[in-house]
Symmetry: D3
């Protein structure tokens, strides 16, 4: 029995609320249980200098946590004057994940900036961020298409993410904070709608795990992402 | 006629939603029209080093804006590595305003950290922040009382804030972004429930204004804050 | 009786010494009693990038305190690696105050940088800075006119500043450091030569003040600024 | 045929030179082909403040690249004033990898600082760093045992790392820079001497990869790490 | 003939004005021609942590330039967020120079902080700073003696500094800015009242100089410092 | 007898190993006894903006120490977020020293970046850095000549550096760390192949030294640099 009482292969209740921001070209509030991440997508008609004249567009992401999104207050990064290593690791992951399903050459001279801000954290903020960011990105690109700036949404697949871990030796899906703190291993999987692997990040917290255990985590994640991409399609009105 | 179509002395629709955060000792989501500020209060059992052994407690505040809270994206302060002058000015103002109605000696060895994060900005973020922060602070202190750490809520009055400005020469209350951009003068008033003045900040945007004009702005603000403190009492269940 | 022994409506001895710097296009050493602020104005033939092609010029200000300008040494901001919130608040105030009396369209493609450095601090450094900065600015613009780069000094009025506060319930003008430390309320007024209000910043230090008290402070400030603009005119040789 | 001409499952020539630094308690220069990483281990008799009185020791790591370790010069992070996201990501990985095979409770009140500095980079610097850092750590702990401060080396297993990737659809082991630049997917595996998984980080560079492809990479990595732990044992004189 | 028209071995007019600051324990405004440096000495009853329990006191220095102390405005270091290499080099030099004539063991548990701020720069700011800092330091230590905290002023000698350089092949003393810009070599000498060498820093600007030229510069400096220590004694009332 | 047992005028064993880096246009590992400094030279086809259109090229240098190059670990400057004053002082010195023997007009539009990274430190890192950096610079310029970008190596002389100091009153050459810690005075001399003085930096550690003592140090340095330029010529294959 896992701490949350959920079945081993059960996601938390997930909602993907769209158009939650008055200004952004695309926005989505992703809730995985008590974890809430506000994702916005901003379209810019310029690319970073190193991409200029490359014929390719770009997608980049930033991540942050509100100070009291956590059980004990986390110091504000703007006040400390630097982003933590964890923050940078996560925002790089979000950017890479989205670029893996984007047709960047079709986005020449366009940059999309994704902002993922954690309003409340209860485990799995990076997976909720990626799952919600895809929705915000898709909405923003739809708007670009509507404006006639692109002929079609330049995305080749959907992408979503979920965690899986080992708790008392058993594989469980989508860990909340209490589960994550007690897990022996924790892995984040970024998978596509068609089942491809975009990113895998697995970490043994206390002792190494085996190849078979890792495969069990991957199987759970494939099930979970399957459900998440369905929720994305519904949020986007694609079904 | 002002741009928003409101009467000159009309506030925007204001809501003060309490207990919006799972972790914070007190929290309030303040909405002034499309402006949304999430305010949390965190209680700490230690004071800044310069206050140690002074027999006084402390209240401090931090302020931030989500990058896409604004019409065009604002660069993330954590990524730039420093808080802007404007941010520092506002967070100092919030802290001073709350301390002015607090009985700091009754809070010895206790510090309350207020975080005001702008989820969406449409003018008046600092006044919404102060108005909501008071509610979050009050809730946090009530919890401290409930826990038996203090005998009574150490607040001597309520405090709320509102803006007023001159638009085409006429005084108007609670400016939204479009009105603020077009105003000849802009003033923020932090007033107490009993009508005292805590802070006054008035700025002529283009040309100086007169003493009489300034008094007209103050009169509008007194009316507006009167309504806001009523909303605070209802949100806190004090009436 | 106020601590300094002055009458309630009396300024400290004020001197505005001009041309105290060998290099600056305009300079003024403003002394308000023991407070000494060195103000220089530097003319540049370029504007910030966001103003380019706008047809307007710009005036900006920076403020600093020498470490031992204060009774106990203040840490050097250059060594700490960031300007304090107070510093940023003051330098933004100085810039806004001067721009309020400038004809910026007449200054197209020109930027004036004002530097206000506190040599010795005894209360009222920001008001001395604004009062002296106006003189430095005027001198620099006169030189620009002399060089034939502008046809007339593009200033629409004079601007000066003074503080007023409540000491033991009574309104007093131009507080020195000891008076400021003991005051119940403190306000800074930036007013023009013709009596307009440019900036008002009032703060209750311990308990809120009333509207009438605030009006009494404004009346004192109007008297004080009246004297200061006279001193400015004499320093500039305008009478 | 891969660019380097190596067999798909062949490591580059690897050497692990020990005691290359006069001062460090343990040191190792790890060479994977033209990649050279200098690893030192420093023993300190104090732990980070958040671990004090926890009865546990700690191992932490820092990573850096000499500016001209790369084909085109990389800006010096000390001069830019901040470590990049990539640097922070790698140094966090090195620390986690080593802690996974350490008996931290046996190291109470002791911290080991690992420094991994890239002298020359030709792909795989993080895997060379982990492989060499284990050797430096082991040497430092042996010295601590020799000094009588610990009864036995508090390591529960060996740990080493290697990369694998997909090049033209085929899995290859231990990519050099040219291979890495051309690969469709890249994964880093941190495995133990007994075959356990400590960290897995797989990234699709251009298009997602499949579960089977991922398993092929893991199989290559298991072979490669098997050889690396043998080299570690020889370098440490353990066989 | 040198640009300033002075004899090759002539100092500029030098004044050392004492007690120019209301708060500092010791202060001196050093003028070398148009170069003006305000030097203050602050006495603290604590030493840096690495000196604690060492039985020694400490003297440290900080240096800064007002933005418009120079012909074209220099960016404010506090605004840029870091002190330049030049600033750090100079403040380290000032500290070392003063410590060389101090009896640090006699100053146990006491630290003197020297601040040298350049009000106006026309070459030789570091030499003026050292020369004036000695006077400020001496005055501060006299005050400490007067207060009975020390039995005698813990200084073993006087120290002063001057520059010398090669201009069109000829050695000249105390270069102003124009001379410095045109010189082939520039050296700064920190010497004691009894003729000892504390610091020598010589730099060939364009082409190397010879040993004999260097000795000629040293001879000029010995003459100049002889005069400066006399002026110091007069300023301190020691003769 | 000096601590190292060397004769007073004896250098440590010095080696200058060339082409130690796969990528740099020029590289040299300079060893002075146990001091090891890796010097690389990078050629860039652009100059700093303030030199553009000046018809002159530029040489600049950066310096760093690996954290465990020292007996006790030195904090990593990249992690602290700023370079120390000592680091900046040394890298400025290296740059000036090399520029003094370069024909910068002949290098128009070209910049050479020198990186000197201390692998192991045992005193004299800045002198080893300058001596090795000259070799790396020469090699890089030779390559530029080979590529036909310049007609001849634009260096007017060789440059090398060595320290000398007073130990128990006696002058000694090329101090190692233990000697440096115990010395009464320490001086660094940067001299050219033809015997010219480029830089002299002498510091009395505890008490001032005399002119004659200084001349004795210079004589030692002339002997030492004579040997070093011979080693440079051999390393470069110039004899």
């Amino acid at each position: 029995m896992r701490p949350s009482g959920r079945a081993a292969d059960a996601l938390r209740p997930v909602t993907l609320e769209t158009d939650v921001n008055k200004y952004a070209e695309g926005s989505c509030l992703a809730r995985f249980g008590d974890t809430e991440v506000l994702c916005t997508a901003t379209v810019e008609q310029s690319v970073p200098s190193w991409l200029r004249d490359s014929g390719r567009g770009w997608i980049t992401a930033e991540y942050g946590m509100l100070p009291r999104s956590t059980g004990t207050r986390t110091a504000r990064e703007a006040a400390r004057g630097r982003q933590s290593g964890r923050t940078q690791e996560i925002q790089r992951l979000i950017g890479r994940s989205l670029r893996a399903v984007a047709d960047l050459p079709a986005m020449a001279d366009m940059q999309i900036r994704i902002d993922c801000d954690v309003i409340q954290a209860d485990g799995g903020t990076r997976t909720a961020a990626i799952t919600g960011a895809y929705v915000a990105l898709h909405l923003a690109l739809q708007r670009v298409v509507t404006l006639g700036l692109l002929g079609a949404v330049p995305l080749t697949d959907q992408v979503a993410a979920v965690s899986a871990g080992l708790y008392r030796g058993a594989p469980i899906l989508d860990l909340d904070y209490d589960e994550d703190s007690a897990a022996e291993a924790d892995a984040n999987f970024v998978l596509t709608g068609r089942g491809g692997v975009v990113e895998v990040q697995g970490t043994a917290e206390e002792k190494p795990f085996s190849r078979d255990q890792f495969l069990a985590l991957l199987a759970l994640a494939e099930k979970g992402v399957g459900e998440l991409v369905g929720l994305q399609r519904r949020a986007l009105g694609l079904d």
